[in-house]
């Protein structure tokens, strides 16, 4: 028997959620709703008595002060009502906590098949609302057909006794789990099966896979366990392990690089080795603070003598592009398992986000699956719930709008953890599995969700991409697992730990078993959400919130025969997979790419013919209002950035606590005065000119952000997250593939050059290729939309005494304003050019040898507490960032552009808006002038004006004429206008 309980706020209470829907319907679709009220529905699929139902109704599901509820449909007024519930098999977090509560209060246990499901009913009122309006609101605001179903009722068709009826989204798989074998008698046959099953096997791999299974010796040993042809589970295992996502075939590929300008050719064998691994290992040898890199789930650096910090960054693009909320929450909760699965396990202390989406107000003809505005709303909320409910502060983030991300959005999630240097006697950063240890899977249960997530993200998104891999993370379950695993770690129980992410058990057990050189897996022991999964589905399912742990068994000898060199999977005693551990590392063919570089000149890029503007005041205000510059406080405030009580420098700073900080600082070891500093940068616009300089400028910005708050220059660790469009040339499907490949090679070269110059080991990194999508146009034609070549760079460092941290806001009237670094004629790819509709050619360059002395001097000045504020000059240039310093302090600023250290430049717009790297704005107490200038002797550093009492922002041009004289508040209004009324 099933029961449906409807719960709503008492009519006298304001329905904030309903009101939000009302506003969005108006703003997004121009649909006028008079009111929206929400009804929460709990459907109980279990046999309970009258009394039991009353008890849970009053004790759990109804707040007597604020709510009313009924097992009959609630009688709320509406013109239309829309019911929205999950599809079968979609994770229903409130449903499962409801079961926990009901079992506890009634002292019962739900039997198999019994469950509680939650859903919602929205009561909408308005004049002249049509069915079309309701379809739009349901499909584009309230629900996503991938995970949800809905029903629409007009008032006159509503049966007050029946209501929505009782809907139970229960998974029923009337299916006997079976292992099927697959013939490998021909390449074409295997290719066909690969396509049918969505295995995405690389054509070049297919002959190699066949030769393995056809090998006489292999055949003999397989016969000993009653296997002949490969089983579906074995091919799934190979497919997962060989996917670009898991194996990074692109970065490990062979690139034939040709510079069409110079005719220079170079064969780059393995970008990962040459540009990431080798430089990082070189730096590791020189820098003892680098503890563990390039092999574990995350990189490890020394925080202090007793603690290590752990960092990694991921993307979750494809799933978020299909189901923004589910994809994003799964992404953030998922990346939090990486530090937890690093070394013997670390406690999560911080997270960050980065979103790249189409224009929020896009009204063009292309039809992305989700409108950028809705997609952004969804990812914001997903990361909010994932981070906040995990009790991990989300302290930093970036949002970037560009039409290129309409094909596929980017969702970056970064996680930092902290762990003791030693667990008992043992170093915490090491771990291995040994023959005889038990493999344990802990956390959530396994269902059909997430199957083929990895392979899907290794393909270009199209309407054929399987939606099966979209799921919803469960931070509550994971938080419980997190607390439990740290207990187990501190009791010395964990020999090895890794997370179940992409590829599920297939990759986590696969990885683990490489240390012990073999494993035996009893698949029937895996806890399932529901029966009827095939063995291969259990093996590759990406159901969330699971870790794989190795522990000492009670009786070691019983397991010693494991030492077989095989991955051995059984189901109820019968073998369904038996593969040599070294097979995957035994020389699969390397991927190959042709890369052809054409210089910007050759591509016809030039500097625009542009005469100086006259109205600098309007220009500056308009730049401050641009989506990629303006205030996004509404996002920051949704994220708990202070939980754990460690906050030192927050994401928003200044007199009104509303201007973005250059970087953030936390005290991860709460009783220590030492701080962990974190920042990120993202400058894809420069890729339109040259991805080499995009990369070097991105790294330089991340570094300057750290330095601006007082971080040590000698302890910087980096994390690279590449998001690139497809680089495999195809005459029709990817005609510019060779150019994009060359951009990738150049980007990696810059990564190598700058990281070596700044001594930044790459503690961790990931690549997500295939950032392309095919969007339908007005005539039913489809357009391939590719993202700009994008690199998110994350940087960490430490500061010995957090009391010496500095913020970017101007502090005191009368303070002097200094510029550090040289302003050059580098408007190429700038926000200013973009605003005027140009790209240009003079992209900013990074000169590490020149910048390094300046950076050290700044560190010295901050350490000697000689500065009142420090702010880097980033996107938008000097004009925009002087405004930030003024807005931060709510104080006036008066400066003279003629005093700005620069190449000979005779134009104010170049000085104001050039985005030259290596620069800072610093304000200091006049008292400190002598010492400060002493520190910067012989370096590009000049006093260009002062902070003032008056609230005016005043800029004098190079030839002495007044350029800008405008109240700071007016600048702030312009900066806040675009998203100011969002909360």
């Amino acid at each position: 028997m099933a029961y449906r309980l409807e719960i709503a706020l008492k009519s006298e209470l304001f329905d904030a959620e309903g009101n939000g829907i009302r506003q969005k319907a108006k703003n997004y679709f121009g649909i006028d709703l008079v009111s929206v009220r929400c009804i929460y529905t709990v459907t109980i699929d279990a046999d309970l008595s009258e009394d039991q139902l009353r008890t849970i109704q009053t004790e759990i599901f109804t707040n007597p002060v604020t709510q009313v509820s009924s097992f009959d449909p609630l009688d709320l007024e509406f013109d239309w009502t829309i019911w929205v519930g999950y599809r079968p098999g979609v994770r229903d977090n409130p449903g499962s906590t409801a079961v926990e509560a009901v079992e506890d209060i009634l002292g019962i246990t739900f039997g198999p098949g019994q469950a509680i499901y939650t859903s919602k009913r929205y009561c909408l009122k308005g004049n002249g609302l049509t069915e079309e309006d309701m379809d739009k609101i349901a499909a584009e605001l309230l629900a996503n057909d991938i995970i949800q179903q809905w029903k629409i009722f007009p008032a006159d068709k509503w049966n007050p006794a029946q209501g929505t009826g009782i809907i139970i989204p229960k998974v029923i798989l009337d299916h006997m789990p079976t292992v099927s074998t697959i013939s490998v008698d021909s390449d074409s046959g295997l290719k066909k099966i690969s396509d049918e099953r969505g295995l995405a096997l690389n054509p070049a791999d297919i002959p190699f896979i066949r030769s393995y299974f056809l090998d006489a010796e292999v055949k003999a040993s397989r016969a000993s366990v009653d296997l002949s042809d490969p089983t579906d589970i074995e091919l799934e295992y190979i497919s997962q392990a060989r996917s670009d996502h898991c194996n990074h075939n692109t970065f490990r590929g062979l690139f034939r690089y040709l510079d069409l300008e110079t005719g220079e050719t170079e064969v780059v064998d393995n970008l990962f080795k040459t540009c990431i691994e080798t430089p990082t290992l070189t730096l590791k040898d020189k820098n003892p603070w680098v503890v563990s890199v390039l092999w574990d789930n995350a990189g490890v650096g020394r925080f202090d003598s007793n603690h290590y910090y752990v960092i990694t960054g991921e993307t979750h693009n494809s799933p978020s592009n299909m189901e923004a909320y589910g994809g994003a929450i799964t992404g953030i909760v998922g990346v939090y398992r990486d530090p937890l699965g690093t070394g013997k396990g670390s406690k999560l202390v911080m997270g960050s986000y980065g979103y790249c989406v189409g224009p929020r107000d896009y009204n063009g003809a292309l039809k992305p699956r989700l409108h950028p505005r809705r997609l952004l709303d969804g990812v914001i909320e997903g990361v909010r719930d994932g981070g906040n409910k995990s009790g991990i502060p989300t302290t930093f983030g970036q949002v970037l709008f560009h039409p290129g991300y309409m094909g596929k959005c980017l969702v970056f999630v970064t996680a930092l953890g902290i762990m003791p240097a030693f667990i008992g006697e043992e170093p915490s950063e090491t771990k291995k599995t040994s023959p005889g240890e038990l493999i344990i899977m802990c956390g959530g249960r396994v269902g059909k969700d997430g199957i083929h997530g990895v392979t899907a993200s290794s393909e270009t998104f199209s309407e054929h991409t399987p939606a099966g891999h979209v799921q919803i993370g469960d931070p509550y379950t994971q938080k419980k697992m997190h607390d439990f695993l740290l207990e187990a770690r501190d009791q010395g129980l964990i020999k090895f730990i890794t997370d179940n992410g992409g590829g599920g058990l297939s990759s986590s057990v696969g990885e683990s078993a490489r240390f012990s050189n073999g494993c035996e897996v009893q698949l029937e022991k895996v806890p399932l959400k529901y029966q009827g999964l095939d063995q291969w589905e259990i093996w590759v399912s990406e159901s969330q919130e699971r870790m794989t742990v190795a522990v000492d068994p009670a009786h070691l000898e019983r397991f010693m025969e494991l030492y077989t060199g095989k991955l051995h999977i059984t189901y109820n005693g019968r073998t369904c997979a038996y593969i040599d551990m070294d097979f995957l590392t035994s020389g699969f063919p390397q991927w190959e790419f042709d890369a052809q570089w054409q210089t910007p000149e050759r591509r016809g890029l030039y500097e625009p013919v542009l005469k100086e503007p006259r109205d600098y005041e309007t220009l500056l205000k308009n730049l401050l209002s641009r989506p990629n510059i303006c205030s996004k406080e509404w996002i920051v405030r949704q994220y708990d950035h202070e939980v754990q009580g460690s906050s030192v420098i927050k994401p928003l700073v200044g007199a009104d606590r509303d201007v973005n900080s250059d970087a953030v600082v936390i005290r991860p070891v709460i009783d220590s005065k030492k701080g962990l500093v974190f920042s990120q940068a993202l400058l894809p616009a420069y890729s339109a000119i040259d991805a080499y300089h995009m990369t070097s400028c991105t790294i330089d910005e991340a570094v300057r952000r750290l330095l601006a708050v007082g971080a040590s220059f000698d302890h910087i660790g980096g994390v690279d997250n590449f998001c690139w469009p497809s680089i495999q040339f195809h005459p029709q499907d990817n005609p510019d593939g060779k150019f994009k490949a060359a951009q990738l090679v150049r980007s990696c070269r810059a990564l190598r050059d700058i990281c070596l110059a700044y001594a930044i080991p790459l503690l961790s990194g990931k690549d997500s290729m295939y950032v392309d999508g095919h969007l339908t146009g007005p005539y039913g034609e489809t357009h391939k939309v590719s993202a700009l070549e994008t690199l998110q760079f994350s940087a960490t460092s430490v500061i010995d005494d957090v009391a010496k941290c500095v913020t970017m806001d101007g502090k005191m009237p009368g303070d002097l304003v200094y510029i550090l670094g040289i302003t050059r004629n580098e408007l190429g790819g700038s926000e200013y050019y973009e605003h005027l509709g140009y790209v240009g050619r003079n992209v900013p360059h990074v000169f590490p040898e020149e910048f390094t002395d300046l950076y050290r001097a700044l560190g010295h000045a901050i350490d000697k507490e000689q500065v009142a504020s420090v702010h880097g000059i980033y996107r938008g240039g000097l004009g925009v960032h002087l405004a930030m310093v003024a807005m931060g302090g709510n104080l006036g600023i008066t400066v003279d552009l003629g005093l700005v250290p620069s190449d000979p430049l005779d134009r104010n717009d170049i000085i104001l808006f050039s985005e030259s790297a290596g620069r800072f704005i610093v304000t200091i107490d006049t008292e400190n002038r002598k010492i400060f200038e002493e520190i910067f002797k012989g370096l590009p550093c000049a006093c260009i004006g002062s902070v003032t009492h008056e609230s005016e922002f005043i800029i004098k041009g190079i030839h002495g004429m007044p350029l800008i004289n405008i109240p700071v508040q007016e600048l702030k209004d312009a900066w806040k206008k675009p998203f100011g009324d969002l909360i």
């Binding site: 004790e59 759990i60 005191m812």
Partner: protein, 275 residues
């Protein structure tokens, strides 16, 4: 000096237990993080403590209302023990999710010594979203809450999506008349926020941010005192520091007003009263 023991609940999605225990230690408590199950299964005894802390977090994911399921679990498994704990004259503080739990348990407001009746609620913010921001709080001078003794005004962070204090008008009236309102959201100068966003961040009636029971020993508040455990937690600290430097004044150091709330508790437990 005799040790004063505080129990900080952990588990099931609670997430402020580490910094809360740390803040309590700074204040002089002997603080212990105790998993809810350890208390339920009896391996830890409530009667061994003088203060019980319901801390912040998302107990059971807040899925059916903030603190609702935690309250159900506590009531079902520990109801009587908690009532004994109160009768024994001990202290209870509920912070954020803990405050939500206290009102769902009925420990607050505790009219007429009935510690089981739900008569007030913390519901969804009027702004419609989770919000993290620092707020100014005015301590009601007449309040006999032992935690806020000697404090007039303070700043603390709020971090919640369900912090709107709601009750029917007579109940609000009674809370005011019986001086059980302890903290009100205020303008920076201390005047009541009068519902104005973001000073009153959630639309709480009468700007109520925290209340106590008639004895003043049970205290619930939405803002997070434990998150102000160090002077560099304050959003203006770099400005304050620079300001002091110019006036050759020494930058204020610990304890913060957040810690002071807990110091008051220690002193009360030690002396059975507060000077």
């Amino acid at each position: 000096m005799n040790t004063v023991r505080a129990l900080v609940l952990t588990g099931y999605g609670l997430n402020c237990d580490n910094e809360t225990a740390y803040a309590l230690r700074l204040a002089g408590f002997d603080a212990h993080r105790v998993h809810i199950n350890a208390l339920i299964h009896g391996s830890v005894n409530l009667s061994d403590f003088q203060m019980m802390v319901f801390g912040g977090g998302f107990s059971w994911g807040d899925d059916h209302g903030g603190g609702v399921i935690q309250a159900v679990r506590m009531k079902t498994n520990l109801g009587d023990k908690i009532l004994e704990f109160i009768d024994a004259g001990n202290l209870i503080i509920g912070i954020c999710n803990g405050f939500q739990t206290l009102v769902n348990l009925g420990l607050l407001p505790g009219f007429d010594h009935d510690y089981t009746r739900r008569s007030v609620a913390l519901t969804f913010n009027d702004c419609g979203n989770f919000r993290n921001d620092w707020v100014t709080l005015k301590v009601i001078p007449e309040s006999f809450c032992i935690f806020t003794h000697g404090i007039d005004r303070l700043e603390l962070p709020v971090r919640h999506g369900e912090g709107k204090f709601y009750a029917d008008p007579p109940t609000i009236r009674r809370l005011i008349d019986d001086q059980q309102v302890v903290l009100r959201y205020a303008m920076p100068d201390g005047r009541p926020a009068d519902g104005k966003f973001p000073f009153n961040p959630n639309g709480s009636l009468y700007d109520i941010a925290g209340i106590c029971d008639p004895s003043g020993r049970i205290f619930g508040l939405m803002p997070h005192p434990e998150a102000f455990n160090h002077w560099t937690n304050h959003p203006d600290w770099t400005r304050i520091k620079e300001n002091n430097k110019r006036r050759q004044a020494k930058t204020e150091s610990d304890p913060t007003v957040g810690i002071q709330l807990f110091k008051n508790a220690v002193e009360y437990i030690r002396n059975g009263s507060i000077k």
